[in-house]
């Protein structure tokens, strides 16, 4: 990274803050359209911040949202939007919403931006991969005609190769599932609260896309979540302790393909490695400063590989890193302290942003004592994004 890049980035670093969060109860089937749940989630986040709809002038969401910004703005009572954006790549987009909001605020294009994800697809028939129709085009034509459609199989290719190359075992993936499930037991919002998981149960589960089995997969759930982003000056006048956006990054990596992204380099590297390189180059805080990490977990191997990609251990050592309770509360690097997509709710990783905010505020149900900074990441494999959040 050049000095110029660094200087430009300082306009964002710690200059923008997340000041409000809100979400509806997670559910298997939320039973309401996203045009309705999105508005309520954003209202909750504004209430949390002590802001009014009239204060909002920007909006950022995932491209897979079916609702128009103007519809949400109208229902909320926003007087007029002057900046908005939608980000593609599903779980790769989550942290990107905060990055775009931060850039808009730092550049003066917007002053207060709401980011959200509202999802209503818990019903089995609503899975996007189950709705494939004839004539697949573009990047999808590189994998779908051979049956490689389910995300579990797309990620399974990476996971199986990792097992082969580095000796990573199912037990390592199990450590991730069990850590997330343990954390969920203390989180009143987690869908898997009251349903603990042990290694024997994990190992005995049915295969979905071998080598991945049932408990390697995230939940299928609905939710509506939002956060409010504004300048640090404004944040200091608000109700909550500001959670500073310290570093942000988006990255596709080289020769990117959506989903069947298996030819980016000679070694098959996940997109997170490229995102991490940018993120840490922009961050004064480093891995050792992270009190915990919210690493995107649509599937357990993404966490094992994410620990490597984001530099908490060397390549190939992600499996052993999960041993001995290291990634559980009380360990050296608690991961997925809300239960994550595996055990709280699967909402394309937006819940990981909210949990990152709670950790900095000191209000998590699995609070890491004195948490001064945390990493939040988006999906590996697809074009992705990541955040470093810190306290003032």
């Amino acid at each position: 990274m050049t000095d110029l890049d660094r200087d430009l980035f300082r306009r964002i670093q710690d200059r923008v803050a997340i000041v409000g969060i809100g979400h509806l109860p997670f559910a298997k089937d939320i039973g309401r359209p996203v045009s309705d749940t999105a508005v309520e989630a954003i209202q909750l986040a504004l209430d949390d911040a002590g802001l009014q709809a009239e204060d909002v002038d920007g909006m950022c969401m995932l491209e897979m949202e079916a609702t128009h910004e103007v519809s949400i703005a109208r229902r909320l009572g926003v007087e007029g939007l002057r900046w908005w954006s939608k980000i593609s790549y599903g779980g790769g987009a989550s942290c990107g919403t905060v990055m775009h909001a931060a850039a808009a605020i730092a550049s003066g294009l917007a002053s207060t931006v709401v980011c959200h994800r509202a999802r209503n697809r818990g019903a089995r028939t609503a899975r996007p991969w189950a709705q494939e129709k004839v004539l697949v085009r573009d990047d999808k034509a590189l994998h779908t005609p051979w049956g490689l459609i389910r995300p579990v199989d797309v990620i399974g290719m990476w996971a199986h190769r990792h097992m082969h190359e580095y000796g990573t075992r199912r037990e390592h993936f199990g450590n991730v599932a069990i850590a997330a499930r343990k954390h969920a037991q203390r989180n009143p919002h987690a869908l898997m609260r009251g349903r603990p998981l042990d290694m024997a149960t994990y190992l005995a589960a049915r295969p979905i896309g071998y080598p991945l089995h049932l408990y390697d997969c995230c939940l299928e759930s609905d939710g509506a979540l939002a956060c409010v982003v504004t300048s640090v000056e404004r944040a200091r006048d608000l109700r909550r302790k500001p959670v500073l956006v310290h570093a942000v990054a988006q990255a596709s990596g080289p020769n990117p393909v959506h989903l069947a992204n298996y030819n980016n380099t000679r070694e098959m590297v996940t997109t997170s490695a490229f995102c991490a390189e940018l993120l840490w180059a922009r961050s004064r805080l480093k891995q050792k400063d992270m009190a915990c990490a919210q690493i995107y977990d649509a599937f357990t191997p993404l966490v094992v590989m994410g620990l490597e990609d984001y530099g908490f251990c060397k390549r190939g050592e992600g499996g052993p890193f999960t041993e001995g309770g290291r990634i559980e509360l009380g360990g050296a690097l608690p991961v997925l302290t809300s239960g994550g997509g595996l055990s709280e709710a699967y909402v394309h990783g937006f819940n990981l942003i909210l949990e990152g905010v709670r950790q900095i505020r000191g209000t998590s149900s699995n609070q890491v004592p004195g948490c001064g900074a945390t990493l939040v990441t988006g999906a590996s494999g697809v074009a992705t994004s990541a955040l470093v959040l810190r306290g003032e």
Binding site: V134, A141, R150, R161, Y210, N263
Partner: protein, 137 residues
């Protein structure tokens, strides 16, 4: 077995991918390379990329080895249900790229990393033939 009405057939008329699908119809695994350097591009580039004269399509050897694989179980797309457990593979072809495919003439138990494989062609419709893989003998 008749093709499932919801089988996700590729758009074989895609301007960039057309030579790949035309080749498959003729029993050839077509890849694209730079004329001068021999560098293979996967996915292929549009022919106007840095001057199409620098790119050419060629018939690959059709040999490679298993770089990774997954075995699909239920719940699965109905169009593939009759193939379950489906062995989906990432084949590193001799020319370099890793291609997505699936295996025929084998079982999940017989699968292994680095297993040598060769291409065979599965005719799905009059217009669509799919390159798939079997263990090389």
């Amino acid at each position: 077995m008749a093709l499932h009405p919801d089988y996700p057939l590729p758009d074989v008329d895609d301007p960039v991918m057309r030579p790949f699908w035309e080749g498959a119809r003729e029993g050839k695994l077509m890849l694209q390379r730079e004329r001068a350097t021999g560098r293979v591009h996967w996915p292929p580039k549009p022919m106007y990329w840095k001057g199409g004269g620098r790119l050419e399509w060629f018939a690959a050897s059709g040999r490679g080895h298993i770089y990774s694989y997954v075995v699909g179980h239920e719940p699965f797309l109905p169009a593939f249900r009759h193939l379950l457990p489906l062995v989906m593979v990432l084949v590193q072809v001799e020319e370099g790229p890793r291609l997505v495919g699936y295996m025929v003439n084998t079982t999940p138990e017989a699968m292994a990393f680095d297993l040598p494989v060769r291409v065979v062609f599965e005719r799905l419709t009059e217009r669509v033939t799919l390159p798939v893989w079997e263990p090389a003998r």
